[in-house]
């Protein structure tokens, strides 16, 4: 019986050559519910080098989602994930940065990584940091694929920002407006208080990686915005346009 290699099933993929992923470098910013799973998918698919950014440590509240284990509680998330990835696919080289990307060493590391990376995966939980990543990726002309799940835990979205081609995260903001913000929530722990379902996280992370493969291997039609609604079981592709006056990416920005 012929020996079956790790990437044998990927090599049979008709639309692109997955072997090219070995030469690619991807930065994953935020390795919570989305980022950890996305990093695992990328590593298993054969991405050569991954840079993981997250300053958080693993808490019990993170364990309802995938990848992390109870025995890893208290460890920095990036280190716990790196250990997992080393076992999942030893071919993937993983750089870990347990720092805040908006300040100090994390900022410097992110700027350095932006020069080298082929793609950035945004899996953060803060709107301000999404905008920050978007601005830096547009300035560095690096593709950004941002994923997010809604506060209800059953809906999510994926933005694909290819600077100069697709709308950036800041373009057309009002188009995304949904229902009113609920402010009756009280969080005393410092941990994100919204619900988070492993199913939605897995779907959004998978969509992010699917788009990442399309961008990295140049096949298929990249979807600028994907909206997933688990309540209705729908996945909507939104072909929105760039805003020429967008303060971040517009041609007529001032």
């Amino acid at each position: 019986m012929a020996e079956v290699g790790r990437y044998d099933r990927l090599a049979r993929f008709a639309f692109a050559d997955f072997r090219k992923l070995a030469a690619k470098r991807v930065a994953v910013v935020g390795v919570g519910g989305l980022g950890a799973l996305a990093a695992e998918i990328l590593a298993r698919a054969g991405v050569g080098r991954l840079a993981l950014f997250d300053y958080d440590t693993l808490e019990a509240a993170n364990l309802n989602r995938l990848v992390y284990r109870t025995s890893q509680l208290g460890q920095p998330k990036v280190k716990a994930l790196a250990a997992h990835l080393a076992d999942a696919n030893p071919d993937a080289q993983v750089d870990v940065y347990p720092y805040d990307v908006t300040n100090g060493r994390g900022y410097v590391a992110l700027m350095g990584e932006l020069d080298k990376a082929d793609l950035v995966l945004g899996c953060v939980d803060t709107f301000a940091v999404r905008l920050f990543l978007n601005a830096k990726c547009v300035a560095a002309k690096k593709p950004l694929i941002d994923g997010g799940a809604n506060e209800d835990g059953i809906r999510g979205s994926v933005h694909v920002v290819i600077p100069g081609k697709t709308p950036c995260y800041r373009c057309n903001r009002p188009a995304l407006k949904q229902e009113a913000v609920k402010t009756d929530r009280r969080d005393v722990t410092g941990v994100c208080a919204f619900t988070s379902l492993p199913t939605t996280m897995a779907i959004v992370a998978s969509l992010q990686c699917q788009e990442a493969f399309k961008v990295l291997l140049k096949f298929g039609r990249v979807a600028p915005l994907l909206l997933y609604n688990g309540l209705d079981g729908t996945l909507e592709r939104v072909d929105w346009k760039r805003d020429p006056k967008c303060p971040t990416c517009g041609r007529r920005r001032r």
Partner: protein, 181 residues
């Protein structure tokens, strides 16, 4: 000044009116708002940061003047702890009580808002970020409706729009529960 002695370049459109016109939310603001904007979009590692820091100080000075002479309620005072103007310490006051406040302008500032910490009141908020600072609500893109920060907003505007309301609402709630006289 640059090492060659030439003045640092300002952004092309440095007039507040032109900055304001780019952001719909800004048009609803009062006259003070125009003094609380910064023209230079530069972060602390940027060589143009001294210009931005200067504009931040100017905006803060205008805001403190406004509080002193027009509002007649100096609920906050802040002073930079170093020459770079990235760390600020001071006091917030409400109803005869005072609490320490610390504000850090991170390297990503002004792409991200200031990181503000009021240690004695921080246990009391739903607006706490993972790094234990006060934030413009956590989590996801649905927050865009209440997200108002952009690169030309100053630390003074953050105090006016975010911290002042937050302190007031916390103090009101603490009074209602009898935790504060």
């Amino acid at each position: 000044m640059t090492p060659t002695g030439a003045p640092l370049p300002r952004d092309r459109y440095a007039r507040p009116r032109q900055i304001v016109d780019r952001f719909d939310v800004a048009k609803q603001e009062d006259d003070l708002f125009y003094f609380l904007l910064c023209a230079t979009n530069a972060s602390p590692p940027d060589p143009r940061w001294p210009l931005r820091a200067q504009e931040e100080r100017y905006a803060l000075a205008r805001y403190f003047e406004y509080l002193k002479y027009l509002e007649k309620a100096e609920w906050v005072d802040l002073a930079a702890t170093g020459a770079s103007g990235t760390r600020w310490r001071g006091t917030v006051r409400d109803g005869g009580h005072a609490w320490d406040i610390e504000v850090i302008l991170k390297d990503a500032y002004p792409a991200v808002p200031p990181a503000c910490r009021i240690p004695e009141l921080m246990h009391y908020t739903d607006r706490k970020l993972d790094d234990e600072t006060l934030g413009l609500k956590i989590c996801d893109m649905h927050m865009e409706q209440s997200y108002w920060w952009h690169e030309h907003c100053s630390l003074a505007l953050y105090l006016k729009r975010e911290v002042s309301y937050w302190v007031q609402s916390v103090v009101k709630d603490m009074r209602g529960k009898g935790w504060l006289k």
